[in-house]
Amino acid sequence: MSYSSRMTDDARPSPDALLQQARQEGRGRLKIFLGAAPGVGKTYEMLTQARQRKLEGVDVVIGVVETHGRVETDLLTKSIEKIPKKRIPYKGRVLAEMDLDALLQRKPKLVLVDELAHTNVEGSRHPKRYMDVEELLAAGIDVYSTLNVQHLESLNDVVAKITRVRVAETVPDSILDRADDVELVDLTPEDLLQRLKEGKVYFPEAAERAAQNYFVPGNLTALRELALRRTAQRVDDQMVSYMRAHAIPGPWEASERVLVCINERPGAAALVRYARRLADRLHASWAAIHVDTPHVRRASESDRDRVAEALRIAERLGGQAVSVPASSVADGVIDYAKANNFTHIVTSTAQRSFWRELIRGSAAHEIIRRAGDISVHVVPEQLTRAMKGTSKRPAPTVAVAGRYSESKAYAGSFAMVVAALLVGLLLQRFGITNVALVFLTAVLAAAISYGIWPSLFACLVAMLAYNFFFLPPLYSFTIVDPENVVALFFFTVVAVVASYLSARVRAEAVSAREHAATTENLYLFSRKLAGVFTLDDLLWATAFQFAQMLKARVVILLPEGNSIAVRAGYPPEDMLDEADVAAAKWVWEHATPAGRGADTLPGAKRLFLPIRTGRGMVGIVGLDSDRPGPLLTPDERRLFDALSDQTALAIERIKLSEDIDRARMAAETERLRSALLTSISHDLRTPLASILGSASALANQKDELDKQAQADLLRTIQEEAERLNRFIANLLDMTRLESGAIQPQADFVDLGDVVGSAIQRASGVLAHHNVQVSIPSNLPMLKLDPVLLEQVLFNLLDNAAKYTPPESEIEVSAGRSGDLIRLDVADDGDGIPAQDLDRVFDKFYRVQASDRKRAGTGLGLAICRGFVEAMGGTIQASNRVGRRGALLSITLPIPAEQPQERAV
């Protein structure tokens, strides 16, 4: 726990402390039974208390409890439900681990999880059991667990020093800090030794010899003290936290802050642990700082990995990890410490290599000199090296491919010196003997072209050549004249210094170029993203960019329904194996990295990382590559962050615009639905009203009605029924169109034939209109669905009849233009208002008709457009040129092949 905010004078609860409390709500409670050594009775105590809880009616289950065959302990487990362990095959054996998923599904109130520091078998979801516990807590399940003090990360070194036994399994201190209760299970060393003698303490066989050295009174006393102190410190912390949360005015100690400087040298991790212990003692908050100097940027991958690892350890131990750019280590550390009110700085003696110290002085010295009122703790490097034990992960050696292959560089350097030699010999001919500068030029050229080592090589060759060819006695490596010895010495010194300086200039130029290239790439990427409007394009571009810049294989997963699915990949691939799917799901549910090289599910082939915006996670990127070692170097990780930030924003932008489109479409659908209801209720009721009215009149008043009136009523019934029939037919057509049930049955069709049958069918509605047909008999045949075309023509004729007064003329004409056939239906009515021309084909759109016109359904033309387009044609509405009236034009494609009449 870190608390950096100072208590102010007004007694308000500290927001940090309240936040901490709030975060606890909804989570399960963790109780840790802490012991000084194995055998003190932690498991027994845990079971006793669990049984008590069970008697109180709490739903208790055993996740995992190791009784090691001890009878008393075994007896205690009898009354508590056990969740069977999960069997995990590993290297030919089957190992049993706590079944996390079964527990999550069972969802008891309280789970007993023995041995918190346990390392899970490879292939489990988490590498460590305490991570399983975190998940249980997150699911709102209370957990009882046991822990020996030696397993605490920050005490690991100390315990190792006391007992000379280093335990590999550690848990971060933060889990103890976050535990709601810690109960110390205490036993005096004498009692413990007694129990050991009685065989009541279990130790794995392999460790028996170690155990003999371990269980000696001195060790046990020291361990007991550690456990007591750690518990006491926790009680202290809890007290402080409680007082802050409840605004109890304290005597607060002056807030101490510890800053530890991390460098790329081995031992950084031990330095961090030292800082943590210091901070604990001081009740101080603390941070680890790494200064990103130009020198660091040139450091090897393994060095940079070490820095990243140390920063990670700092975070795990509850510290803050920062990385600041500065021109020198001392500058960065002092500036940051002063700006952030640090009171202590921890550094090691070796911030620099011996050579650099010789040239530039020691960073530690400089920090001390400039620290002012900040205390500086300097830890000897030898000590940190001795403590480095737990950073057991071997630094991967990744060969850094230079711009030139090594041998080529040396050959080049050699050639430059040879060239200088030739020039020198030439100059000698002209009587110029002082050719040292010529060789110096060659050395400089080698330094600039190939870097430090080839240039030093050039230096050596140049020195030898100078000696051999120019210093008497000639053609021998001996030097007679002392003056020449001095000259050669200074030549060498100058050459070495010059080559060092030029090589540095070159290295900085290369590094600057690489940075510029990265920046340029990022810039281009952001521009590319800005120009992408579909999600698929975006994802593809992103996958490609990730793959290029991180030199890895990439998959991108996005949410789909309740789950996530692969949406893009480079190289394109969408198969994830089971472990990968599990890791990706984990990332999606917990928004933390998982998979290869991560804390969770490290057995997966890929590393999965979340892509986030401020509003939450939008997707997941999965990476893998054939390179050994970690997938991403710290630099690449930063690059990844930059890329994924841009991607996240772009994905969000596209999703937002999709959301807007969807909302607009929903509104449109809603508008159509209400229009449909209005239309249907009107169009169905009107004819029904006429029919019902007429029929009831005929039925009830037959005697009062004369023949003419009866005939009128009957005609009304018939006409209105026909109108109703047409409307229903239109509704059905529209429904068929929208449900995609229209499947045109293409057939060779004679246009005149279809026009004729349409007019025949429309003869009822056209009874009072004059239809003129002009269709050239030499038109080619069309290949389309005659039934649909006839319906289109029928609707157009019906429409024309509706919007023109009786005795109007309707003209149907056709003609060929290019490889299209154009079919026009023109009337001589009022035409279509200009502002309506674009909308007449919209569903339920009706041109505002004056009263004398027959009401339309607003479906006819929409169906026409649907049918015509289904047949591969187009339809347009316009007004006739030079005269009154509307013109509806259809164009239909002429099929490439015509039937051969001769073949008949």
């Binding site: 034939d753 026009v755 269709i775 045949m781 039937p899």
Partner: protein
């Protein structure tokens, strides 16, 4: 109608009572003796018990029963005229019913006049089968089937052999709808591309119709086939 001494016996098969009711009323008024059935089994029983002259059959009976009935009637060797009632968008169903042996169809909803015309055409066809008349006349067209002479408004029209074959097939079933497949089989002896049929219909119309753009003699039943106007 009064000339025909026996009342033609019509069996109406439809599962909708209102349809049966209005058909019974109208057909009885037109001089038919009407029997009713509401489903396939009832229809089969009615067909066996009564000597039915014409069958009016709804294709929309539950479970494709309509097609089954047509098939059974034709399989038994009966030439009973069958008029099917079908829905508007079901061209495929109409063609299938016609190919199975139905004589004609009426699309629901229909006017009584239309159904009566179909019934008349179907009954006449049954009579015609007993002896083809040598001269066919409708409107301005007259065809001497023995001498193979075609006259339109008293002018002889020259037809190619294939055109004449097509016209003859139409005349043989005047008033009845003929499917594309049937006509192609009649004229070409095998199924060819329907395009040829359309081309021949167009040339026939140009030679026979007063206004080929608005044909009255050879009517198109879109998606189904053609129908030659029946003599009154």
């Amino acid at each position: 109608m009064s000339i025909e001494p026996p009342m033609p016996r019509v069996l109406v098969v439809d599962d909708e009572p209102p349809i049966r009711r209005f058909l019974r009323t109208s057909l009885t008024a037109q001089g038919y003796q009407v029997f009713e059935a509401e489903d396939g089994p009832a229809a089969r029983t009615a067909l066996q018990r009564n000597a039915i002259d014409i069958l009016v059959l709804d294709l929309g009976l539950p479970g494709a029963d309509g097609f089954e009935i047509i098939k059974q009637v034709r399989d038994s060797g009966s030439a009973l005229p069958i008029i099917v009632l079908s829905s508007r968008t079901d061209e495929a169903g109409k063609v299938r019913a016609l190919d199975l042996g139905a004589d004609d169809y009426v699309t629901k909803p229909f006017g009584m006049d239309e159904l009566l015309a179909r019934l008349r055409a179907a009954s006449r066809h049954r009579l015609q089968q007993q002896g083809e008349r040598p001269i066919f006349r409708v409107d301005d067209l007259s065809v001497d089937l023995v001498r193979r002479v075609v006259m339109v408004r008293d002018h002889e029209v020259k037809l190619t052999p294939r055109e004449y074959d097509l016209l003859r097939a139409l005349i043989a079933h005047a008033g009845k709808v003929l499917t594309h497949r049937f006509l192609m089989h009649e004229v070409w002896g095998s199924e060819t591309d329907v395009a040829y049929l359309r081309i021949y219909v167009r040339t026939l119309r140009q030679k026979l119709e007063a206004d080929p753009d608005r044909p009255h003699l050879i009517q198109t039943e879109q998606g189904v086939g053609y129908r030659l106007k029946a003599p009154d």
